[in-house]
């Protein structure tokens, strides 16, 4: 009983900690505009207070004194048109076009209440290295309104404030992201790229064993043997994906992304199944090389999303690749010693090698289907 009370008290304390704010602040009107340039594309996120939208457009269709999500959604087209009429983006080569028709609508909260969030992209006639922002939203309703503009690019964000008396600002030198930035992105891409991880681990699970002629696994006697094996595999994978990453990024080869993604998923299945039933015998580095070619195309689309500029592509490519290696090697360094220590246990052989590989193969198989037909079954 006492213990139950204790738990209840803890829960209440947790609730209090996460309790919503007391009341929305009274604050002068601001909108929060975040611009993320990617080469000739600018991602736009715009948070506009519902109170301000309501004052300008009237959102309470049902006249019940409340703005509901349904009412906001119903007004989506109108308010998107209204909002983007209050914003003009331009680069040296001319005006950008906000693709407001594709804008997504959501909601978020700031210190003074609920905001509508518009997520859209703007397409510019040239690289957005100098980005002109002209802001006129809401000044007709509230002349003390301000647009807090954040330009993301490189390591640091830049913030400037536009207001009635200063409606325009040209943001100079959208950071040519530093090489370090792309190293980090490469590492993060590996750590968070669940399919690359699955593939890598499927190749690593058996690294502390040798396949015997009868197809069974035997533990390696020395850590060096395992390390050499892993080095061969990782190097083969790296060389292979570097080749295709380069070819794709410089535009020599282009494959449909659905095919690439589905093939990457298939490579996961192959690598995992090979641990259960020998398909390639001792040629795991060869497998790593061939499948690595496919993964390179995947990396290239990730790199393209990061908005690499054409002028600095080679440097970006190298940085990103270095990041990918850092990501891989850190995982290897973490995994290999543990696997070596555990190699003689039944648990490792049965649970990690057998069951782990089977699980990876299963997930990979679902990915193949998902990606081939463009459907989603798994939450990841």
């Amino acid at each position: 009983m006492k213990r139950t009370l204790h738990v209840v008290a803890l829960l209440l304390a947790a609730l209090a900690f996460f309790a919503p704010r007391l009341a929305n602040a009274h604050k002068a009107s601001d909108s929060y505009l975040t611009l993320t340039p990617h080469g000739e594309m600018v991602e736009v996120r715009w948070d506009i207070a519902l109170r301000d939208m309501d004052a300008a457009l009237g959102l309470d269709e049902s006249r019940d004194g409340h703005i509901t999500w349904g009412e906001l959604q119903a007004a989506r087209a109108m308010l998107t048109e209204w909002a983007f009429a209050g914003l003009a983006l331009s680069v040296d080569a001319g005006a950008c076009k906000v693709l407001s028709g594709d804008a997504e609508l959501g909601t978020t909260s700031h210190s003074d209440g609920a905001y509508a969030t518009l997520l859209a992209r703007a397409s510019c006639p040239g690289d957005a290295t100098r980005l002109g922002v002209k802001y006129t939203l809401l000044f007709d309703v509230d002349r003390l309104h301000r647009g807090v503009v954040r330009v993301k690019g490189g390591a640091d964000d830049t913030i400037f404030v536009l207001q009635d008396s200063a409606r325009e600002h040209t943001f100079e030198g959208v950071a040519k992201a530093s090489p370090l930035h792309f190293v980090r992105e490469g590492t993060l891409h590996i750590w968070s790229g669940i399919d690359h991880l699955a593939f890598l681990f499927a190749l690593l699970f058996p690294a502390v064993f040798r396949r015997q002629p009868d197809g069974k696994w035997a533990p390696v006697p020395r850590l060096r043997d395992a390390a050499v094996d892993v080095l061969r595999i990782v190097s083969a994978f790296t060389v292979a994906h570097s080749i295709t990453l380069g070819l794709a990024s410089f535009g020599y080869v282009s494959l449909p992304s659905r095919l690439v993604e589905a093939t990457i998923a298939a490579s996961v299945v192959l690598a995992a199944v090979n641990n259960l039933r020998p398909l390639f015998r001792e040629q795991r580095w060869g497998v790593a090389f061939i499948l690595g070619l496919v993964h390179g195309f995947g990396f290239s689309s990730a790199l393209a999303d990061l908005g690499a500029s054409r002028d600095t592509l080679l440097a970006t490519l190298v940085s990103f690749n270095v990041g990918v290696e850092v990501g891989q090697l850190s995982l290897v360094a973490l995994f290999l010693p543990l696997a070596f220590l555990a190699r003689n246990t039944q648990a490792y052989r049965r649970v990690v090698l057998q069951a782990g590989s089977a699980a990876v193969a299963l997930v990979g198989a679902v990915w193949v289907v998902e990606r081939a037909v463009g459907l989603k079954f798994l939450p990841f």
Partner: protein
Amino acid sequence: MSRRRIAAFAVFATLITTVIVVAKPAAVNAANVDVRVPTDPNEILEKSQGQPARRKGRAAAPTVDEAVSLAQAEIDAGRASGDPRALGRAKAALGAHWDDPAAPASVVLLRATILQSLHEFARADAELTGLLSRSPENDQARLTLATIRTVRADYKYAETECPKLGDALSAAVCLGNAWSLTGRSAAAEVKVGEALGTLGQGGAPRTRAEIVWAISSLGEYAERQGARDRAEAYYRKALQVSPSDPYVLRAYADLLLDLGRPAEVLPLLAPYTEQDALLLRVVVAKKRLGQTGAVTVARDLAERFAAVRLRGDRAHLREESWYEREIVGDAARALTLAQENWSVQREPADARVFLEAARAKGDLAAATPVRALLAETHLEDPTLLALARSTP
């Protein structure tokens, strides 16, 4: 497969799946994680202020009178609620008249009022001085200008001009404020008390705002004489007339904090925490009471200060200085903010914040400008004088 093997298989498969599920959201673009797409169309997101017909349906440009009454309505609503958005809307309602140098007196008065509320005292002063040179008989301009100069610690104007006001109560409070700030609070209390006493005796009809202004001024005069009981009675009376008046609520809360009665601040201000200045008093009260909830509320307040700073506003300096000193415990920053605030406004509350920050930092020399003003004006506020003596 053996049973153990199947069990182990299941455990590990679950483990891997969990890791994958947990790892994935962390990989989602962190920039937009706060954006929600609700699933229920009936989810209430925000209160509505009604249809903006008067704004949207405005086909032709409004006449000057329409614009003025619209702007005045926004200002009145803003005063009552403490909502700064009202000022921007009032400014927008004036439209092109805002920039019109030949605008009629009613527009100039509103411009000055808005500028004053934005703490742009010099520009407000210029508007009013210009208006008074054209129409010296404009009492509203005279009263507003006297108020602005008094806030800026320039009391000569009030001494000469307030008595010229045609309205007895306005004249009394206008003059009383200047007197009280120059060591004559007792006389001020008598004068305003008398003017209030003649109410309902055939004088001009009074708005609630005027009465509250007069009574709360009496409260300040009493406080400066060290008569805190009397001050409390005045504030309570003012709150009976207008229970949600932001100015009176703030003054009374400060008195309660000075009296060492922070517990009473909480119920008093609970309905008004949307106003940053009042939320600050709540945070201070909670902290002095040792309530654990103080941390959460302080975080809210810090967020609000950050939002105000982000937009480039410096209207909160007085409150921020107090916050930094008492809640955050950063005396150096508190002093910097208090100094910056002192360059904008010089009311007793500003002096108080300055002295407290200087004492907290142990920087005797920093508060010299405040001590000089206290000596020059003979302000009698015992709390302030004690602080000035004890600094550091």
